[in-house]
Symmetry: C2
Subunit: 233 residues, 2 copies
C-alpha cells in the first residue's frame, strides 16, 4: 500500500458500514440478510453493507444501505460497534462500523441489489454461518437490543403506529427469548402513561378483541426531560 495521495502518511484502510436491521412481523424477530454475489464469500449470506463514501457521514451511509435494500428511510438507527480485526476481510484491511436498525417487516419491500443474489428476512434463531465476522456482529447486536429494550422504548419502532398490548408483549418475548406475565406486563406499561388507548378494537378475531393503543411520544419526552428512568420490563 502506498499513501502518497493522502495528507497523513499513515495507512488508509477501507471502511464499510454494515447494517443489522431487525424486523418484526408480529410473531418473530427477524434480521435482514443478503446472499453475496461476488467474492470474497460469494454465495454466502451476510449483513447488508456499503463502503463509506468520501463525503458521507457514517450514519448517512447506513441510511443509504437501507434505502438501497428496501427503499426505506426515517427508521430507528444506532451505531453498534466498530469491528477492526486486521484479518476480518481476506482481501485487504476493512474496518466495519456496524449500525443497528429497527423496522416493521411489512414496511419493507426487499429488493436484491446488483451485488446480491437474494435478500431475505431470517428468523434470528435460524441464522447459519455468515460471511466475514458477521455472526459476531449479529450476536453483538442481539445482546445490545436485549439490553436496550428493557429501559428504552425502542420496541415501538418495530410495531405499527397502533398496536395491542398483547402484540407488544409478543415482541418483547421474541427479543428477550422468554415469556412474560400478561398481567404484570400490562400493569407496568400502563402505569407509565406512555400509551394512549384508541377507541378502536381488533376486528374479526375468534376471541375477545384487544383494543388498540399508540405510543405517546410527547409524554415520553416529558418524562425523559424530568429524568425519570423507565424500566419497561
Amino acid at each position: 500500500m502506498k499513501e502518497q495521495f493522502y495528507k497523513y502518511q499513515y495507512p488508509h484502510p477501507a471502511v464499510t458500514v454494515d447494517c443489522i436491521i431487525f424486523g418484526f412481523d408480529g410473531q418473530n424477530l427477524k434480521v435482514m440478510l443478503i446472499q453475496r454475489k461476488s467474492e470474497p464469500f460469494a454465495k454466502m449470506w451476510a449483513l447488508p453493507g456499503a463502503f463509506v463514501d468520501e463525503n458521507e457521514s457514517l450514519e448517512s451511509c447506513a441510511e443509504r444501505v437501507l434505502q438501497k435494500e428496501g427503499n426505506i428511510s426515517g427508521v430507528y438507527l444506532e451505531q453498534l460497534f466498530t469491528f477492526g480485526s486486521p484479518s476480518r476481510d481476506p482481501r485487504e484491511r476493512v474496518i466495519s462500523v456496524a449500525y443497528m436498525g429497527l423496522v416493521k417487516t411489512a414496511d419493507f419491500e426487499l429488493i436484491a441489489g446488483n451485488d446480491e443474489l437474494q435478500i431475505e428476512w431470517k428468523d434470528i434463531l435460524e441464522v447459519g454461518n455468515l460471511a466475514f465476522d458477521h455472526n459476531l456482529i449479529l450476536t453483538t447486536a442481539i445482546d445490545r437490543i436485549r439490553g436496550k429494550i428493557r429501559y428504552q422504548p425502542i420496541g415501538f419502532e418495530l410495531m405499527n403506529a397502533k398496536f395491542t398490548i398483547p402484540q407488544l408483549q409478543q415482541l418483547y418475548e421474541a427479543i428477550l427469548g422468554k415469556s412474560l406475565d400478561r398481567r404484570n406486563f400490562r400493569k407496568k406499561l400502563l402505569s407509565m402513561q406512555i400509551l394512549k388507548q384508541l377507541p378502536e378494537k381488533q376486528q374479526n378475531v375468534a376471541h375477545k378483541a384487544a383494543s388498540y393503543y399508540e405510543f405517546d411520544r410527547e409524554r415520553y419526552d416529558v418524562l425523559m426531560k424530568e429524568g425519570i428512568y423507565l424500566e419497561l420490563v
Copy 2:
C-alpha cells in the same frame, strides 16, 4: 484521492484511535489530555490518539497509545463510539474510533510524546476547548461512564487494589457528580458480597480508621455467570 493500490475501489479514509483515559486521584475524576505540537490545531489541548497501524487491531492501537503516553498496560479499556463526520479533520477525512480507559492516576507517569508539548491530567470539570470534535467525544465518554458505573464494577479499575468504602464512595460521587447516602452505599455494596474485608485499617488519620477492602473478582464472575444483575448505586 486515488486508490489504485487497493483491492477495493472505494475511498480509503485515514483511521485513528483516540483515547479518553479517566484517572482518579482519590478526590476528583480526571481525564488525560495532551497539548498538540503540530497542525492542525497546534497548541490546542486534545485527547491522545494514534493512527491505526496496518496489522494492528483497534484495541491494540488503544493499548499502544497508553503505552506511549504513560508506559501503562493491562488496564480497563472499552470501545466507546466511532466518530466519522466527513469534516471533523480539516486536512482530510479521518474516522476516529474512541476508546475509554480507566486508570489510577498514581500508576501513570505521564510523558509528553514527540508530537506533544505537554501532557496532563485535567479535572473533568475544568476542560476547555479541545481540538477536533474532542469535546463531543469527551462528553460522550462521561455519559457512558456515568451510565455504566451503576451496574458494572468498572469503578474498581480506578481504585488501588485495597481501598476503603468511603474512598470508593468518593469515586462514585466524583463520577456521578452528586453525593450519596453513606449508610445506603455501604449497605448495598456489602450486600452484594463482592468485597473482601482485609485485616488492615487506615493509618495516621485524625479520626476513626476505615478498614481496607479488596474487590472479589472471582465472586463477581460467579454472580455474573448466574445471570445476577447488580445495580451498584
